[in-house]
Amino acid sequence: MRSSLQLQSELAPSRRPNHVMHAFLAEVRYELIANWRQLDFAMPTVLFPAFFYLFFGVFFGKGSGLATYLVATYGAFGVIGTGLLGFGVGIAVARESGELRLKRVTPAPPAALIGARLVTALWFSAFILFELFVLAAVLADVRFERGQWLALAIILLIGTLPFGALGLAIGTRVSAKGAPAIINLLYLPSAFLSGLWIPITMLPEFLQQLALFMPPYHLAQLALGVIGLDAGHPWQLHVGVLAGITVVAGIVAMRGIRR
């Protein structure tokens, strides 16, 4: 019975009632599978935050405020990486290989193409946060309330979004070969200057002022706010900046994709 049904659906064109959802789910599934099959590409992004935390948080900062601070900021560092690099390099490669061109000719919903990448990036972000939280709780004796862990996870996961948009905006405008270099050139210095690697208060005063202009700073401050280690700006400022980045970069990215 089952095989005859299957046969029928394979021979005759079949009408799907909810094919947009079907397309979205297929895109998500295959994006995850494709990424899983080339994990070596994602390894640095996924492992660096935990590796840095192990070094600075666990070995140097165990039991101190540093270990606590760095959970939030390496978390931010990690999700910013999956957003910028996952989206940016991914879209640059898809554009240059002609994959994007081929999909633009199909009725594939653009939201499905972007959505699939977002789900993939969130998956990597979640994995990074899991690594960090386990290291922090088990090896660095960091103690938060359950609600704080949860808030931290949610803020940082959502924080993938503005940087994903930023990555897309860059990735639609640079070559596949240039994308990793250009994105890292923005990502790594701005991470440092935003206080993601060492506490922002250890930087000179003028750099602390300059940090206000760094997108990663605002995500880090939101995360640090959960554990009471932020610099004291109103949270609305940070949310406003990140939302603004998402909208502007999103528009730039959509224009770039349509080119």
């Binding site: 659906s9 295959y30 994959e99 061109r101 199909t106």
Partner: protein, 308 residues
């Protein structure tokens, strides 16, 4: 503007350039329901630009492009077409079966998997990842993906580039099958043989203009004729004004003239240049005629648009 009821796609007076390079210089073109049309022309003639316009990948610099009487970018159009692009890629890490499944998911009424696999001869390759495919196998995958949506209108941009002779013949047979099942096919090629073997109608383009159009038989009748080679002191401009001369080209010391009426042209030539010598008169096959039509230096004083 004329509209015919069986028109399925239309390019109306389109100019398009990339920076300073003119790709299309006022093209008018229509595609009719059910036909196999070959866009024939040398590399750089503007074929891919035309296909990109019809697929909505490019917007025309000026003029108008419609497919199914709509903007080619609209979703309803994209659900009814399929395309094999000259420049296109595919995710390297998915298998053929997965790629086909993914592309089928984009369409409300996709073609059956078995149909696609048979049409593109992919049965033995279903578990192979795209990055492990040869050029020819990749072409076949792209052919299957172009058919995934069961399209009414199929675009094949240089579909047989890189295929060996046998695969090429097989693809030709598939295109004929598709045509018999009522689909409209637009293919671009720079091989006359391919156009003549497949097309109901051929449109020859060069330097962004339509330079000839018709059924393969009509085209042959129009462009074939006699070729006169001789050494003469007459200028190309003078020869061009002679009655019955279709094309003139200077080749080193000698001049090559294409004409449908060699006797008349020869009488006129001798009347104006009695010292004409090294005369040769020969036939022109379709292949030669096509080369002559599109050969770069034929119209030596035509504007040089494609400088890049």
């Amino acid at each position: 503007m004329q509209t015919s009821s069986n028109r399925i796609a239309h390019i109306a007076d389109v100019h398009h350039s990339y920076g300073k390079v003119t790709a299309l210089a006022g093209i008018n073109f229509e595609l009719r329901r059910g036909e196999v049309l070959a866009l024939l022309g040398p590399n750089g003639a503007g074929k891919t630009t035309m296909v990109s316009l019809l697929l909505g990948l490019l917007r025309p610099g000026s003029g108008n492009v419609t497919v199914f009487n709509k903007d080619p970018r609209s979703l309803s159009v994209r659900r009814r077409i399929g395309a094999m692009l000259q420049i296109s890629g595919i995710g390297p890490n998915l298998t053929i079966a997965e790629q086909i499944d993914l592309f089928r998911s984009y369409y409300p009424n996709p073609a059956g998997v078995a149909q696609l696999v048979a049409a593109a001869d992919l049965a033995e390759l279903m578990d192979r990842r795209a990055k492990a495919l040869s050029g020819g196998q990749l072409q076949r995958l792209h052919f299957a993906l172009a058919l995934a949506g069961n399209p009414e209108l199929l675009f094949l941009d240089e579909p047989t580039t890189g295929l060996d002779v046998e695969s090429r013949r097989r693809l030709w047979a598939r295109v004929r099958d598709l045509s018999e099942s009522g689909r409209t096919v637009l293919l671009t090629t720079h091989h006359l043989e391919e156009a003549a073997a497949l097309a109901d109608r051929i449109v020859v383009i060069d330097h962004g203009r339509v330079i000839a159009e018709g059924t393969p038989a009509e085209l042959e009748a129009e462009v074939s004729g006699r070729r006169i080679c001789c050494v003469t002191r007459l200028s190309i401009k003078t020869i061009r004004t002679l009655d019955g001369v279709r094309r003139v080209e200077r080749r080193g010391a000698s001049t090559e003239i294409l004409t449908a009426n060699a006797e008349s042209v020869l009488r006129q030539l001798f009347a104006q240049d009695p010292e004409l010598h090294e005369l040769e008169v020969g036939g022109v096959g379709l292949e030669q005629a096509f080369l002559a039509l599109t050969g770069g230096e034929l119209d030596s004083d035509a504007p040089q648009e494609e400088a890049a």
